[in-house]
């Protein structure tokens, strides 16, 4: 399959997910869920699993999933981004399910993946979702072997979908090195954060002698986690690109209908030129995210460099589009009731997740081999 070709089944997947989200995640519903404690609708979560199989999309068929790849996940996340879907999809699929698939612990896979695919288990990886430069994964939590089993102690300040998760996959240090543990969400202390982006929740998660099950072999989590975070970076880029594209579409639509000085503001070059530049950003972000997803499926050896390059680009593109969208909307864009700020909140927050653009640019240089 040549790069960027879209087979009919991918077009169908996109159309199906878009239809579903137009029905289940319209702006009114997004705004309702923003005000709720958990931030998502369990009934919709069940339908996502039962009718569309979204949670099980990348889960192998033997565990009740569809066995699809990163390209398909990218399609779903582009659509989820467009709709600002309020659901713990990123933590459960892009982080937790991905980590389980990357680990060699077949027992853990068999134990957890069917629940994830069925929509019964909300899961996440308890990595601090921000500032990996100063807070590398696993640096906040230590695990010790006791007579009763492993016990975890420490804190991760920004855990995506941390409060909703039934299952926490926790990177932690042991004397042997970086290791992974499965922790029952109810056993950790979880402090929901007042996130700027109310459509995506985070929690501070604290472990105090909290029991956990070792995942994989003790001290071998480094490569598994690194690969998981690269794949998650690509997945997040897809979500950002999808959200950016929609933020632009709704802004273009507004520029056509808003009339000042006797004509639509989209007829003024000041606005036209901003929108043309934003289209270049938006299309570039989509190309970048889709290229990276395809590279992940093909097992491209340069994925680590690629993932960082693409993440940096998509983060900046989404922030710029969402920010200019407010400017183009003018006064109404400064009001809470216009949805433009919801996209800016998502954009600014997403840009921090799993490393900000400057972090990823530096890491791209190191990983590309161009600059040591």
């Amino acid at each position: 399959m040549p790069a960027f070709a879209v087979p009919p089944e991918h077009a169908d997947l996109r159309a199906t997910v878009r239809r579903f989200l137009v029905e289940c995640s319209p702006e009114a519903e997004v705004r309702r869920l923003m005000e709720t404690g958990t931030g998502h609708d369990p009934a919709v979560w069940k339908r996502m699993a039962g009718e569309l199989g979204l949670q099980g999309l990348i889960v192998p068929t033997q565990y009740g999933g569809a066995g699809a790849g990163r390209v398909e996940l990218g399609i779903v996340l582009e659509e989820a981004g467009r709709a600002l879907l309020c659901a713990p999809l990123f933590g459960t699929v892009a982080l937790a399910a991905t980590l389980l698939l990357e680990s060699d612990d077949t027992e853990a896979r068999a134990r957890y993946l069917p629940g994830i695919a069925a929509g019964d288990t909300v899961a996440t990886v308890a990595v601090s979702a921000a500032d990996p430069a100063r807070r590398p994964p696993g640096s906040g939590v230590a695990a010790a072997a006791t007579a009763e089993g492993w016990r975890l102690t420490g804190e991760e300040p920004y855990v995506l979908d941390g409060a909703a998760a039934d299952l926490l996959l926790v990177p932690a240090r042991t004397p042997a090195g970086l290791s992974l543990f499965a922790v029952d969400g109810r056993l950790a202390q979880r402090h929901p954060l007042q996130t700027v982006d109310r459509t995506r929740r985070q929690a501070r998660v604290t472990f105090a002698d909290t029991p956990g099950e070792l995942l994989g072999r003790d001290g071998t989590a480094g490569p598994v986690l690194a690969r998981t975070l690269d794949l998650a970076a690509v997945a997040l880029a897809s979500e950002q690109a999808g959200a950016a594209a929609f933020a632009l579409e709704r802004t273009v639509a507004y520029a056509k209908e808003r009339v000042q000085f006797g004509r639509p503001i989209g007829g003024f070059q000041a606005i036209k030129h901003m929108l043309a530049d934003l289209l270049l950003e938006s299309e570039s972000a989509i190309s970048a995210a889709r290229w990276a997803a395809a590279a992940a499926d093909e097992g491209a050896p340069d994925l680590p460099a690629l993932a960082s390059l693409v993440r940096a680009y998509c983060s900046d593109a989404f922030v710029r589009i969402a920010a200019d969208s407010i400017q183009i909307h003018g006064g109404i864009g400064f009001t809470w009731d216009q949805a433009a700020h919801l996209y800016l909140r998502r954009a600014r927050t997403s840009a921090q997740l799993l490393g900000d653009p400057a972090f990823h640019r530096e890491r791209y240089l190191q990983r590309s081999g161009a600059v040591a």
Partner: protein, 399 residues
Amino acid sequence: MSEPAAGASAGRVREEVAAWLAAEWDPGTMRAGRPRTQFVAKVVEAGWAAPRWPRRWFGRDLSDDEGHVVEEEFRRLGAPGSGQDRHNLYAATVLTFGSDALKEKFVGPMLRGEVPMCLLYSEPGAGSDLAAVRTRAVRDGDEWVVDGQKVWTSSARTAEYGMLVCRTDWSVPKHRGITFFLFPMRQPGVEVRPLHQITGESEFNEVFLTGARVPDEHRLGELGGGWRVLQTALAYERSVMGDRARAGRADSGMAEVGDELVRLAAETGRLGDPVIRQDLARVAALRKVNEWNALRAKAEVEQGSSSSVMSLGKLAMSRILHESARVRTALAGPRSMVEGPEEPIGDESTFLALNAYFTSIGGGTDQIQRNIIAERILGLPKEYEVDRDVPFSEVRNSG
């Protein structure tokens, strides 16, 4: 009798063109010079140069798909001469708009590459607003007398003919008073002066036309119908540029993206500078996404949908060039104040910073490009034209 399926006919065409090439094309001896010229003449004679055109005019009446098959076979062997029905803007424009006599005289030689050509479009007062041309043609019996000035003409010195856009009627709005000619360059009324660019180079010329003459027989299209002819000619030109852009391939390895900027950063001892490092990665990303956009556009076109990504390419390229030059200047530092062979790093930084305008102005400025993107892709309202329904003689101009 039923029509053969398209696939079957394409297969027959492929066999036929492959057999012809097997008999006629020898890559060992025909890559350049006289043997190449002779080969292209044979391609034209056989109808492979413009296979979608009618048999009467050097073609084979093939469908567009079959035409692509012919081009593919030529490309596969690296043989020249095919695909001119899409690319040879001179021959195509003459074929579409010329009289039979003019076609007889020019289409064959043009396809064989025997007629050096140039474009006489832009003027000092007609840049972005090309329809505002003021070069004047006045009828004199069977001829037209032409006075005016053209600019940004490459190859003017060697050209035998030029595609000339000029005004024949000043009493109607600007788009309606333009006429298009195939204009003979080698005559006394034509003076070519080299134009000096801000980089110090001279790739273009000014062409001064003073009482120059062109026979009415060389008119392309209707009197006053030149704007339509120009649109067709420009479409052919864009198709050539589009093909070139689509031919760009994304490289698989990431190591080389650091490329010459990284080497320069190393050479100037700035690789440890975190600001420079961010810039290097930023430029690498701009280049990469542009390659991916081109590949995506290609895939979308191949899948039969029109692609909006392609039209963004020129805007993207101008940003890449200006941004690369900016980083290069930061790396050169004070050296960028000095030019010449003794200071190659400084010299190059200035050259690239200045030459970036070649792309952000030439072939439609970034600002015109943004208008086009906004209007044609995003569907925003068209720019208001104050001169739209005004006789051209009453339209305001800079001079």
